[in-house]
Symmetry: C2
Subunit: 632 residues, 2 copies
């Protein structure tokens, strides 16, 4: 028997689990569900497949939904052995559920459930059923994701005031479990990403009273745990770290110990933020954000090369048609979704997925095109969030950086439309729109006096920031000459305010790498990410400003411990090191094709493994000789 899968209407699994994820944030006792349109799975679906049976065969349908099986013209309840054939037979499995998405598992030698089944929701044409490699056994329940677990004991226990502060070796997403050595009594456990947070009973994010029966607290981010009014002789504590097992396939070992440590901490940060979906941070927001995920797709490609988490995250972000609001309410995050598909496709050549989401890409573009101004520039509607970065951008009228992203979306649509063999008219229309928009951007936003793109042409302020100019390099809106000017007038110009988030820092580093400034990037990585390590980071932070004194370093959004200390968007050194320093470019993910242009001049030695398709490439540089191995 081939593998049978639990099947559902495609996207339902992701939308359901995304809501669980996006509604899981808690802040000092208040549930804080994500503040954007959270969309439903379907409640009534039917799965169909027709078989030409050579002989009699039997199968059984498992489901927790309400429904029945129609085999030919006979009805059967779920859980009953059904015998049919030989001959042509059409099987329909009807399923309805309110609390979660309907899913079914069909077990049999010939008749079994997989993606070859069609799913219908009575609202649109039939589509290929959704499935996951994680749900292949009849006793499973696709509405419940069972995490892997690993036990961590504290590495330190310190008397603080009238209580004990426990420390773990690193940050975890864990269920804390208390054992009462002298019998149960009510206690409260204060968790912290930092020692300071755990000890601050007023301002720490998470505090719990363990369940009396089990001694367990809810799953949350924790590095330190403080139990006031308690002696060490009274309790034992352990952390049950719960995670999705996505194996790290890459390894980076160089002669540069600081860079090695940065890679290692970035890897841990990224792994913690890679669960069912790519989330921003494990303490906060625990939400699926399109911009954050976009960067995670870059890192994933070189670290885990796991296509599944990409697909889950992309489906969760996009939601259902029709689109009425921007992804996470943010215009730029909507645009990153299109660009993310491109990154995903370049990494995995995932035509099946591409075919599945192409209609949603088209409808997303149509939605965006409903908000163009007279020049074809995309502008925010009331309620749209024009984000780009936590920075002082001149957001009057159409913002330059958004146009850069939008132009790249047009280009992506054209490229992927060609890939899928869509009608010529489809992709040539996108190509024309791309050229037009690109020309208009250069006409309206390029300021030759400043030798840079300005944020806004309508405000009259001619305000220059790094953001749009970085995109102009990354997306080649600027020609070679303009690119050189941007480096001089913007990137190497201290008068233009520095980027303060690791988020946009990544785009800046990427642009500098593309322009060949590798040494500068290496220095900056050592300074910026190394700076966090000097401050005691075991995971990389949401934001880091070297000028902020240590006493205030966890402060953000006007909240003493508001900063997330484990934030996916700060793991980008992995991508930069792999892509530009080891110099691996994936050219054919299916056949394992790649090009290697390493920059060995920055290292005395290198011993790195990077994934390409199903294979791993092992690169060894001993200071004299470079060797490449392909590992299967």
């Amino acid at each position: 028997m081939s593998t049978a899968y639990w099947i559902w209407y495609p996207g339902d699994f992701e939308l359901y689990h995304a809501m669980k994820q996006n509604f899981s944030r808690i802040e000092r006792g208040c549930g804080w569900p994500a503040f954007w349109k959270s969309e439903g799975f379907r409640n009534r679906v039917v799965f169909r497949k027709e078989y030409g049976l050579e002989k009699e065969t039997a199968f059984c349908v498992y489901s927790k939904a309400v429904g029945y099986v129609l085999a030919g013209d006979r009805k059967y309840p779920f859980g009953e052995r059904i015998v049919c054939g030989p001959g042509q037979i059409r099987i329909s499995v009807h399923a309805a559920c309110i609390e979660t998405f309907p899913s079914v598992y069909i077990k049999g030698n010939v008749i079994y459930s997989d993606k070859t089944w069609q799913a219908e929701d009575y609202g649109a044409a039939p589509v290929m059923a959704g499935y996951s490699n994680h749900f292949t056994r009849e006793e499973q329940n696709p509405s419940v994701w069972i995490y892997r677990e690993k036990i961590y004991l504290p590495v330190s226990a310190e008397v603080c005031g009238d209580g004990i502060l426990y420390g773990f070796e690193t940050e975890l997403t864990a269920v804390l479990e208390i054992t009462y050595k002298k019998g149960y009594r009510p206690l409260r456990v204060y968790c912290g990403e930092s020692r300071e947070e755990a000890l601050d009973r007023e301002h720490c994010y998470y505090s719990w009273e363990p369940e009396p029966d089990t001694g367990r607290c809810p799953r949350c981010a924790v590095r330190y745990a403080y139990i006031p009014d308690c002696g060490e002789e009274e309790v034992e504590i352990k952390a049950v770290h719960q995670y999705v097992d996505i194996p790290v396939r890459a390894r980076f070992v160089s002669s540069d110990k600081l860079i090695n440590r940065i890679w290692s901490v970035a890897e841990h940060t990224f792994s913690l933020c890679s669960g069912i979906f790519f989330i921003d941070g494990i303490k906060r927001d625990k939400w699926i954000w399109g911009g954050d995920a976009y960067q995670s797709f870059f890192v994933n490609q070189y670290l885990m090369a796991d296509a599944d988490i990409n697909r889950r995250t992309l489906l969760a972000l996009r939601g259902n048609d029709p689109m009425t609001t921007h992804i996470n309410t943010i215009l730029d995050y909507t645009l990153y979704w299109i660009l993310s598909i491109k990154i995903h496709h370049e990494a995995y050549n995932d035509l099946e997925f591409l075919e599945q989401v192409f209609p949603k890409m088209c409808s997303l573009m149509e939605f965006c095109e409903s908000q163009l101004d007279g020049h074809g520039f995309i502008v925010g509607r009331k309620g749209d969030w024009i984000f780009i970065d936590w920075a002082d951008l001149d957001k009057e009228g159409a913002l330059c950086a958004e146009q850069m992203l939008f132009a790249e979306c047009y280009k992506t649509m054209a490229v992927l439309g060609r890939c899928l063999g869509k009608e010529t008219a489809v992709y040539t229309a996108y190509e024309k729109k791309y050229e037009l928009l690109k020309n208009n951007i250069n006409a309206f936003y390029w300021n030759s006096e400043k030798g840079a793109y300005i944020d806004s042409f309508s405000s009259g302020k001619n305000h220059v920031t790094r953001h749009g100019n970085i995109f102009a390099i990354l997306f080649q809106i600027a020609d070679k000459e303009k690119q050189e000017q941007i480096v001089e007038n913007v990137l190497h110009n201290d008068a233009v305010p520095q980027i303060t988030t690791p988020y946009f820092k990544f785009f800046e580093m990427d642009a500098l790498c593309k322009m060949g400034y590798l040494e500068e990037v290496l220095i900056r990585i050592r300074q910026y990410w190394g700076g966090m390590l000097e401050r005691g980071a075991v995971t990389f932070w949401e934001e880091y400003d070297p000028d902020v004194p240590e006493a205030e370093q966890y402060d953000m959004y006007g909240d003493k411990f508001g900063k997330s200390l484990c934030h996916a968007w700060s793991a980008s050194p992995i991508y930069l090191l792999a892509r530009y320093f080891v110099g691996l470019e994936i050219t054919d993910p299916v056949k394992g094709g790649y090009e290697l242009h390493p920059h060995l001049e920055y290292f005395d030695s290198l011993d790195c493994i990077l994934p390409v398709g199903d294979k791993n490439i092992h690169v060894v540089w001993d200071g004299k000789e470079l060797t490449e191995y392909t590992l299967c």
Copy 2:
């Protein structure tokens, strides 16, 4: 303190409970969820209201959802007493839930939840919060409808084979409860709407093994219950009838005992089919159908005059925007939805509700207009069900009866648009479309040779059925002269096949009443509905054909007990008797205005009560004098 209500995003309550209703059908052990697009409630909403507080006040928010309260710029968890004021303050209540719709209850002297709160779903502009008169207490859960209960003991117990057949005085929607006089042992209870069904263990719809702990079976339609392999000394049985308490306000007592009995059985039938929503039948389908509901709105007006069940049913049927499929997949049922709003509005002058649903009426009409042919006639798309009736209609091309309904929709949109004071352009556009369509119907479908409307003009068959011609009278598509011809050539023409469903029988009777053939209608009511009584009906049936022998009378859809014996659409004599014989026409539901044109010639005496707005009208005719009283 004024009444506080549980509030939710408008429509969510109805969509949630509608799914529970539409997924509740069971047929011989198979769950049979309704086969149409079943749409979700929202999962993430926010409720907002701003207060100008004269002094300090306190309130508390109750909810089972995940979320928090924002009062000014401070956050509070649910369940916590919040003190604020004096001064201007904006309160936002954020709520998320996956399994059911988010709802909140806000309790306080000044700050409390009701329809004056705004609800947002992050997808559309804020709207007035949804609420129900049934949910006004903090300890309630709007996801759970608690039914009223009434205990019925069996009126007969008869040994049949090795078991006992229990009979109840009438049909019920009940939980059967078994008491084991000699201790529990596994038993199976077979339920029937008829004696024959309960005794037929193979073909009866519902059979249950009572819960060992409670002896209870699931709620279902039951008049007879058979327990095989069981003696009367072993068990006791009772039926816990579960119902929504919608008081009957009308009374009909005349000198005609058969007509009195018909009214009484129709009233019981209708009450059983009036739960949270108007459903078609209590054994089958237990679904909310737009066509069936349309007729229920007519009866409700004269029997219970309960506006709430109308609103719940209308919101449940319509679902969310955008509309992509027809209500219940049936084109005509989509059109009845518009006409139902008109009936509702005529009965209750419900401007608040009308304002709420008008945008959905407009988008429904736009959806319909996406499937017009070159003449402006509405035609089915692939997968659309063109129903009209279980009858032999010539459905090639655009069907006449659908155009009649569609024209009436245009007229309704114009009338209700005026009522709401919408822009002139809105309703005049509908008026123009109405005139055009009406003229086209008369040009294409009127066959002067036959003196009747034909089903299809494109088939060339010139097929005449009663259906379109009945609508031509009801909706005044036909002028006076044509109406007279229709009566002669169609309604009084035995060569045109008779209507076989009480469903369309109602439209026919209504048309005959409008044309003044009251005596004929009275005879037909006595014959047709009286015929069911002669066959032992205690509730009226889904279908009745006097020519079918008794042995086959419960057969339908090729199923021995497929016919529903308690079907709402057969309760229409209530409307006909009240509207045309007692002759009460409601002219102003708000002020209680009405006109009375009784036809006393058919009765020696009458003693009837009928609702008009908040008042009841008592009409007494003693054979000599007619007296009207208004009861408050």
